[in-house]
């Protein structure tokens, strides 16, 4: 079984983002970029499934501008067998719906048996691509996975839901989106980083697929949230309790 893992290049999760004062967006120039953390977990799981013999090949896929090649090289260094970049124009906003259409096209071409993706990207926080992809492919979906077991053409997936866990079974091919608890991604070793440079990375222009990937949403403006100012310090626990009771009225 071939596993397709879409990975997104996003602002590193340790970076404090800066909103441009003119409301035109978030400053992305000269900012450290990394693989979306949830995608890293999806990729780790795919690699482990291959190591266990449940998968034959792991293909990393990114939809984005040319620099996403770096993210794909990271994926190759972690253990993906090969990579595909569906290249879009620099600065072009490709929304989850469009990304899902492009991934669906590649999944069909590759005859993937499973798409493993992060539950959301930490830039636009949409939490949508996996579900939209499953809809477009008309495949079953299992979102927010914290445990995945593959056996006999099906996956048993433990999902993080409100209030606990839910276990469902889905027939393959399926789309599984992963949550934090699933695993801890490995670091790429230096020899593997060297080897990754020689692994195949195909570049396909997004236009080649002939799909409608125009944005449906217009961003009117992007602003900073209302700033929160620090409050007061209490000198003792007793003072803190009385402030919470009398001043804030929360207790």
């Amino acid at each position: 079984m071939k596993i397709l893992v879409p990975v997104k290049r996003v602002v590193d999760y340790n970076v404090k983002i800066r909103v441009r004062p003119d409301g035109s967006g978030v400053e992305l120039a000269n900012v450290k970029m990394s693989m979306n953390p949830f995608d890293e977990i999806a990729l780790e799981e795919a690699i482990r499934l291959k190591e266990k013999g449940a998968a034959s090949e792991v293909v990393a896929l990114s939809i984005g501008a040319a620099p996403a090649q770096e993210t794909l090289r990271t994926a190759l260094a972690m253990g993906a067998d090969r990579a595909i970049l569906v290249e879009t124009a620099p600065g072009e906003d490709v929304e989850p719906l469009a990304v899902a259409k492009l991934i669906a096209a590649v999944a069909r071409e590759e005859a993937a048996g499973l798409v493993l993706c992060g539950k959301q990207a930490i830039d636009n926080d949409m939490n949508a691509t996996g579900q939209m992809l499953a809809a477009i492919l008309d495949w079953p979906q299992a979102t927010f996975a914290s445990e995945i077991r593959i056996e006999a053409g099906a996956a048993q997936v433990t999902r993080e839901v409100d209030g606990g866990l839910q276990v469902i079974g889905v027939a393959l091919p399926a789309v599984i989106s992963v949550d934090l608890r699933l695993n801890e991604p490995r670091y790429a070793s230096l020899p593997n980083i060297m080897k990754a440079k020689k692994k195949p990375l195909a570049i396909r222009p997004a236009g080649e697929f002939g799909l409608d990937i125009a944005p449906r949403l217009t961003v009117v403006k992007t602003v900073e949230p209302p700033a929160r100012k620090g409050g007061v310090k209490a000198g003792s626990v007793a003072e803190l309790v009385s402030k919470l009771k009398d001043e804030a009225g929360v207790l």
Binding site: V11, Y13, N14, K16, I17, V19, V26, E95, P96, L97, I122, D123, D125, M126, N127, A128, Q131, M132, A135, P140, Q141, A142, T143, F144, S146, T158, V161, D162, G163, G164, L165, Q166, V167, I168, G169, V170, A171, A174, L180, R216, L217, V219, V220, K221, T222, V223, E224, P225, R228, G230, G231, K233, A234, V237, L240, V241, K243, L244, V250, L251
Partner: protein, 309 residues
């Protein structure tokens, strides 16, 4: 404008708080029909009909919808969607799974985690874990959105909307099936919807010491959270993580204990109504956003706090 609001159903029960908050958001757009879908959901439908400002409650009662699995739910909702301008639901784990699938079927974009509705086409939503707020205008014929419930006050009770059963013609595919629910049996509230959250950080020092955080949480009837540092150090399980890569919470009261306030943590809790921080380092960044701070040793302060509350 006519809105189809998807009620959050858990088992056969209406999740009244989440549904009422999404209803408050939906009602600003026009007449609202509520869809109650599941198996044996008669009581849930009556409960939904009692909210003020509801035009009709549509009841889809069928075994195939019994566990609210995404495939049959999305099929049902997509079939109904053509009669509406908006399809909306609370941003619960269930509907965050279902509604993007509906949008995918309809070939429209999803508007996730909406925090404000400016007009029928224009919405505000947080990006970068709430570190920026984006205003977006949708060009789609049907707007499909999930509502961040922390941003809206619940719609009041006091209505008596008519309840209309609808025919369910959803295919009973074998593509997915429910196996079991393993819901947390702890008496504590669930982290993402709790009114009060008490979180511990690296300062707590060990897994054993985390019992202190739990004692304080139990005293307050609060959910227990943790910073990524505490999770990485093995003090708390990952499902308690509050932050950019964990859960984003916005309770009425957030108590941060032994948490320095890394950006990635602040991103997950800074929309809380009131923030209290206890930390021995008076320069800790958490104090820059806390409404009330206490500089001190948490091992003395927390037991004393438990005693005085």
């Amino acid at each position: 404008m006519t809105v189809l609001l998807i009620a959050e159903i858990n088992g056969a029960n209406l999740q009244a708080d989440a549904t009422a908050k999404a209803l408050a958001a939906a009602a600003t757009l026009g007449a609202v029909d509520i869809l109650v879908a599941g198996e044996g959901v008669g009581a849930a439908a009556s409960a939904a009909a009692s909210f003020a400002g509801v035009a009709r409650v549509l009841v889809a009662d069928h075994a195939v919808l019994g566990r609210q699995l995404a495939e049959p739910m999305a099929e049902l909702i997509a079939t109904l969607a053509a009669r509406y301008t908006h399809v909306i639901g609370p941003a619960t784990a269930g509907l965050k799974s279902i509604l993007p699938r509906v949008a995918g079927r309809l070939d429209v974009m999803i508007l996730s985690d909406v925090t404000a509705i400016l007009d029928a086409d224009t919405f505000e939503r947080p990006i970068y874990a709430g570190n920026a707020i984006q205003t977006v205008r949708s060009a789609d014929s049907i707007k499909v959105a999930t509502i961040r419930t922390a941003a809206f006050a619940p719609a009041p009770r006091g209505g008596g909307a008519p309840i209309e059963p609808i025919e369910v013609t959803v295919s009973t595919s074998a593509a997915s099936h429910w196996v079991e629910d393993r819901l947390s049996l702890a008496d504590r509230p669930e982290l993402s919807s709790a009114g009060i959250v008490v979180s511990g950080g690296r300062g707590v020092g060990s897994k054993e010491n985390f019992a202190l955080i739990e004692q304080l949480a139990d005293k307050l009837g609060a959910a227990v959270g943790a910073s990524r540092a505490a999770v990485d150090a093995g003090y708390a399980p990952n499902d308690r993580q509050v932050g950019q890569t964990g859960k984003v919470v916005a309770p009425a009261l957030y108590v941060a204990v032994g948490i320095s306030g890394a950006i990635q943590h602040l991103a997950g809790m800074k929309d809380s109504r009131l923030i209290v921080a206890i930390n021995k380092d008076e320069d800790a960044p958490i104090f820059q956003i806390a409404d009330y701070g206490l500089v001190g040793d948490l091992f003395q302060a927390v037991p004393e706090l438990v005693e005085r509350l």
